[in-house]
Symmetry: C2
Subunit: 537 residues, 2 copies
């Protein structure tokens, strides 16, 4: 007679299959965004919907609930701490699933799909009014969702906080406000300081003569660039082949292993995990943005390194919650570390300047420090995804405050464009030419994703704070990079950060790794030092 199979083992089997199905969706998503011909989209949509339905059933069925309860009953004093922790995380997720009315779930899926379609068209037409009813409906549904989910929360949370939990576990408004207040106070001063320094900050519509203007974040500015006689012909600047081979060199020097990873092209860069030993990233070459592919490679590879470093061994991992990334903020901290702290750093620019230059007929920069400046355009713009390191977090603060007002406050949807424009003027001093470049620019709200934006800013803060902790132990990052020793930085993260999985939330991760609570101070120190150094050039 075979030995009886424990509930724990059966649960593991169950989670393994759920993970297989989830990772099949990732594979289809990857295919869709890299090679799928456009007409394949409707059938692909049906495939993904079927998988989503299966995953949802597996995560919410009575049989699964019974299995989880059995596994919980099996726990005793001899059980590993991780086993109990995994079950707690699964229980929490199941409670959330069970708290939701299936009709509401279906209504949200429906509203997301029509919200997305209306938003695409509204953005194209710069017609906020045509999208407003869909946004109102999404807000109303999300409020209902938060109200249903409230009973599943272990502590009392506001509606916005409840919606933010999937992205940033345990995030609170009070915590965010304490972190964002110093950013709101100090960053505008830094931007103003740069504006006073002649030539160093450029206002939209007036690209200056220096290499700073080579990175052009404002839509429509390509024609302005062409008028700038100091700038080389865009397409000649860094040929696609050279960008591609530089990306390959970068990855090779950062531990890319073709046995476990693959880089492809897609319209928008992303990173995804298709299996415990199958990691994909994508990049794109953007005409007129010579560093876009290179920096996106650094960024996406940072995401992938984190995924590759998540705990995988033993029974507590890959199919179990502890083997997953803990939050969007932590994920972003890892990609931003490699993009901003390493690839946009001065030492790195010094090392890579000769490689960029060697592939070009003419040298557009002339000096290493001008190459470094080209990698670090500091100029506020209207578009979040094209924003520089200095102003990026202000874009997030603006969105955070507005979605709070939409979900919990009394901001009518109709007033959103005006409110957005006023705040953009106040925060960044920029006039909005259209809602398409304002409150219609992001996809998030069009799919009812409220609570998502703050993680982007938390990623910047965590990255800076982890970097300070790293420097206390390894000495200056710039020194390591100058010695082409990024391996030591990777090893530090691989030892202290990546193996934590979901053992801790983002805030606790920072506390555990850095020995201090999450704070905005390290990020502001980093920005101040960078601005000072760039101004001194």
């Amino acid at each position: 007679m075979p030995a009886p199979v424990s509930a724990h083992q059966r649960l593991r089997e169950h989670l393994h299959e759920t993970r297989l199905l989830g990772s099949i969706s990732s594979a289809l998503y990857y295919d869709q965004n890299t090679v799928m011909p456009p007409a394949g989209a409707p059938w692909r949509g049906d495939q993904l919907a079927l998988l989503a339905k299966q995953v949802h059933q597996r995560q919410s069925s009575a049989a699964y609930a019974d299995l989880l309860a059995e596994a919980e009953a099996e726990l005793d004093g001899a059980s590993a701490f991780e086993a109990a922790h995994n079950l707690q995380l699964l229980r929490q997720e199941l409670k959330r699933q069970q708290a939701l009315d299936p009709d509401l779930v279906a209504a949200i899926v429906q509203a997301q799909s029509s919200g997305n379609a209306l938003w695409q068209e509204a953005r194209r037409q710069n017609d906020f009014a045509s999208f407003a009813p869909a946004l109102e409906r999404l807000i109303q549904l999300r409020r209902q969702q938060a109200s249903q989910l409230a009973s599943a929360e272990r502590v009392q949370r506001s509606p916005w906080e409840i919606l933010a939990q999937p992205y940033e576990p345990d995030v609170t408004k009070a915590g965010l406000e304490a972190l964002f207040a110093p950013l709101k106070a100090r960053i505008p001063e830094l931007i103003a300081g740069l504006a006073d320094a002649p030539g160093a900050r450029l206002t939209p519509g007036h690209p200056g003569p220096g290499p700073l203007s080579l990175e052009e974040p404002i839509p429509g500015a390509r024609s302005q660039l062409a008028q700038n006689q100091h700038v080389l012909n865009e397409s000649a600047l860094i040929p696609e082949d050279l960008q591609d081979s530089l990306c390959n060199e970068l990855l090779a020097s950062w531990g890319y292993d073709a046995n476990r990873a693959q880089r492809s092209r897609s319209a928008h860069p992303f990173s995804c995990t298709l299996g415990p030993d199958d990691f994909r990233i994508t990049t794109r070459v953007v005409p007129g943005q010579p560093f876009s592919a290179f920096l996106a490679t650094a960024h996406e590879w940072g995401h992938s390194l984190y995924e590759q470093g998540l705990p995988r061994k033993g029974d507590h991992y890959f199919p179990w919650p502890l083997g997953e990334a803990t939050s969007m903020g932590v994920h972003e901290s890892q990609s931003l570390f490699w993009e901003c702290r390493v690839a946009r750093g001065e030492a790195f620019a010094g090392r890579w300047y000769p490689r960029f230059r060697a592939g070009l007929a003419a040298d557009p920069w002339g000096k290493p420090h001008r190459f470094w400046r080209a990698l670090n355009p500091l100029r506020p713009g209207l578009i979040r995804v094209e924003a520089d390191e200095l102003s990026y977090c202000l874009h997030i603060v603006l969105r955070y405050e507005l979605e709070l007002a939409l979900i919990e406050g009394d901001l009518p949807v109709a007033d959103l464009p005006g409110e957005w424009n006023g705040r953009m003027q106040a925060l960044l001093g920029l006039e909005l030419p259209s809602d398409s470049e304002g409150c219609l620019q992001d996809i998030h709200w069009a799919e009812g994703l409220f609570g998502y934006f703050p993680s982007y800013a938390l990623g910047h803060l965590m990255s800076a704070q982890l970097a300070e902790a790293m420097e206390r132990q390894l000495g200056p990052i710039e020194q390591r990079v100058a010695e082409a020793d990024e391996a030591s930085l990777r090893a530090w993260l691989a030892e202290r950060v990546w193996p934590l999985g979901r053992c801790v939330n983002g805030e606790d991760l920072v506390r555990q790794v850095c020995g201090e609570p999450l704070s905005a101070a390290p990020f502001l120190r980093y920005l101040e030092a960078k601005v000072e150094r760039l101004q001194a050039l």
Copy 2:
């Protein structure tokens, strides 16, 4: 109250989901063979196994059987002929599923997997004896399978015939023997005739001076090529970029629509359908084989055109059997039509010679007719997949007769190598240096796939017979090709062949389209004409 949903509609829903799952497997297969990093294989294996299990359950469950019976009961005089035909095909497949003992199915899967592994190693080591027990086991299991399936057949069939049904519905040994006898009689004469013509036929190990030797089918012959001073440096012959752009040109001229199709690179060329509007093909560049990618593109696109032309409209199709390809032989006839009848034709060579030459610094052919000869190497070799048009079918006859002897006759597995070698000597006059280049060369038997090989030869015969019918209506194909009017050939196939789906089997398709029974004569006429023309050059 909503209108009651008919069993027909529910069955359609069921088949739609089954098709979604099957096509997800195809997408994973495509990814695996184009971009997946090697270490992703075990997880991918788990994903595919899960999907296969789901598809199998959906095709064999009691609930599905009930649904099918309900739909059958709904049929009446007013039902469309296609509706009844679809149900018949589904019933036939279900009967086969139900006839099989699940333990046997599991044992076969197991034996295939270990057979494949042992075969890989045996081929590497040229050690047939180490693979023999696995082959014996597979033969024994397939005999059992045939015996269980016998009860599900509508007519009496031999064990080999039963195993061949999934590839070639209604195929019989008597039919094949009648088709193969003329090939066995005539092709060796044609080969011998070529051997007598000086310089036109080259024996292995003695590559001659002319462009014929540019296509080198014998493994290990690259070093010989390098010694041949008349041959240009292989890698310089047709640079990868040029091969790639010529493939794109070819596809563009044959109706490739980037909105519905995608070509990628893989280790072995293949074609697959990922959805009703999502068609993929893959090709590869083979060093030393300058036309390999180009001809494989023609071949795989031929497969894809057939899939694209299958009936899709209305309720009888995409998820239904009638919307599927009817047989391997018909599929192969379509790929071979475009590869052999069009791309290897003299008129096509005349049109494309300037394009190939234009991309090269030096012209390795000098004259259009030498370029055409280079596209048509006629030299028997040991390896089926590298065989020329003339000898290819003899490779198939050899395999067909041997597997018949293994499955139904008294050939002991231990005697297979000797038997193979003797027949190869008799058919093609070639000595075998090793079993790796003999009975260990193909993957089919290593996975227990008996009954599969004949379809490859049937594809050649059908292609030739369909081409004769086409010429009776359109005039000479060569004329159309000379006028760059392949569109008319495509339109003919799109009207007469592709929309038949599974309405007819391969033999009936030929009878219906050509007005005569399937025969070897058109193929032999085609070969004779080609050999004569090549010899006359």
